[in-house]
């Protein structure tokens, strides 16, 4: 019996190799996090590790003076959220995102991207 329990313990512990992603975390972004783009993007697209609740998820994009440059309500489909942008000039912009994952956990974050090359 002890041997069986030991084997079962090993089974339980040994199987712990899956992905630890029970909250929605940013997995990729376009424009990329901290990146530079030559041409002004038409929208910001964020991909997360989990499905999002559209009613309680949002994103804001601001310029260096803090003024909103996004077009408002984001489009959310599954684990992807995107928001249209006004016509952007050269400069640094900040993306602030706030999402509620389908397992009811909130996460938030922010990053910058630069328009107009390095």
């Amino acid at each position: 019996m002890r041997t069986r329990i030991f084997v079962l313990c090993l089974l339980l512990l040994g199987l712990g190799g899956g992905g630890a992603h029970a909250h929605a975390m940013l997995s990729s972004a376009s424009p990329p996090v901290g990146g530079s783009v030559g041409a002004a993007p038409r929208q910001v697209t964020l991909s997360f590790t989990q499905g999002l609740e559209p009613s309680f998820s949002s994103v804001q994009v601001t310029d260096s003076k803090g003024a909103r440059v996004d077009l408002g309500k984001p489009q959310i489909s599954g684990s992807t959220m995107s928001v249209g942008l006004k016509s952007l000039g050269p400069g640094t912009y900040r993306v602030n995102w706030y999402v509620l994952s389908v397992d009811t956990h909130k996460t938030q974050g922010s990053f910058s991207f630069h328009v107009g090359g390095q």
Partner: protein
């Protein structure tokens, strides 16, 4: 984390739901056969049935009330609003109709109401339970506890995980109810009487519970392994994170319960069948009842850990 009221609401709700579902499983799969075998010579059925009905009804009421409290706390958290704003600004309606959690809660509320309707004939003392009532009650009880899977970490995956993880968690919850939820009614039956007919009922009940328990433990092991696979990021995370350490404590308690169940199965239950002396039989009954209550405490501790796990993060929340 400990100051989060959601933890305590989760403990109450998990406990109540598991108790309600467990007692339905216990009546249908365990005691009916035991009472039938004992025939009219035993008054155990008459003694314990009102207790079972009382536990089931109270458990169902607590399930609904604690479910409502859970919904309000989640709605507050989702919207960063006060309780008053949750009611006055349509947040509750938005949560219920436009989120996965809300739709799950609506479904579970309907399931609880239907189970309550089923309880009227199910616990009626004037009629024999029909097959249909038993099938409906077991189905609703399993669905009520299993759909808790959609209120936690099991949802949100993609690809195969989106199907396998909630399905594994559903079965995990049903198996937990079929084991932990049956312990309290088992202790009630073991305490019911000391005459020969009562001992016969206790023996049949214990043997059937033990057999059922093996299936539950097997299901818990397989589904628990699947959940661990999806929720823990490797062996290191089991040791280095709060989530991992809590999970290890839960697994340790689980194996402690398995050890007690093994003693019950291999040592104590056979004594009920041996006609050695009334003292030996009574001693075995006392030990079985004591062990059942110890397992109830261990099961309640596991539920407490599960309640904390549900609000414990697995990794960094702010990326980047």
């Amino acid at each position: 984390v400990i100051s989060d009221p959601l933890i305590y609401v989760r403990i109450v709700h998990f406990s109540a739901t598991i108790t309600v579902s467990g007692i339905v499983f216990f009546l249908v799969f365990i005691t009916e056969a035991a009472f039938r075998q004992a025939g009219n010579g035993s008054n155990v059925a008459a003694l314990v049935s009102p207790v079972f009905a009382w536990i089931a009804w109270l458990g169902l009421v607590v399930t609904v009330v604690s479910g409502g409290a859970w919904l309000l706390l989640v709605a507050q958290s989702m919207s960063d609003s006060s309780l008053q704003e949750v009611f006055s600004e349509g947040i509750l309606r938005t949560v219920l109709l436009q989120t996965g959690f809300g739709r799950d809660w609506l479904t579970r509320f309907v399931l609880a109401c239907l189970l309550g309707v089923t309880f009227v004939p199910f616990f009626s003392t004037h009629s024999v339970r029909s097959v249909w009532i038993k099938v409906v009650a077991v189905t609703l009880a399993a669905a009520l506890v299993g759909t808790l899977a959609w209120a936690g970490h099991a949802v949100g995956g993609s690809g195969m995980e989106a199907i396998v993880h909630p399905a594994a968690d559903f079965l995990h919850l049903v198996a937990a109810a079929a084991w932990v939820g049956m312990l309290l009614p088992l202790a009630v039956v073991l305490a019911a009487g000391r005459d020969a007919a009562s001992v016969a009922v206790a023996r049949t009940t214990t043997v059937r519970f033990s057999t059922f328990g093996i299936a539950s433990v097997g299901t818990l092991l397989v589904t628990g392994s699947i959940n661990t696979w999806y929720l823990v990021g490797g062996v290191t995370a089991l040791i280095d994170t709060d989530y991992g350490r809590l999970l290890l404590a839960k697994i340790a308690l689980f194996f402690g319960m398995v050890a007690i169940a093994t003693v019950n199965r291999l040592r104590l239950t056979p004594r009920l069948a041996q006609v050695v002396s009334a003292f030996v039989t009574q001693d075995a009954l006392n030990q079985l009842r004591r062990n059942a209550l110890i397992e109830v405490v261990m099961g309640a501790t596991i539920i407490g850990i599960v309640a904390v796990l549900g609000v414990t993060p697995h990794g960094p929340h702010q990326i980047p």
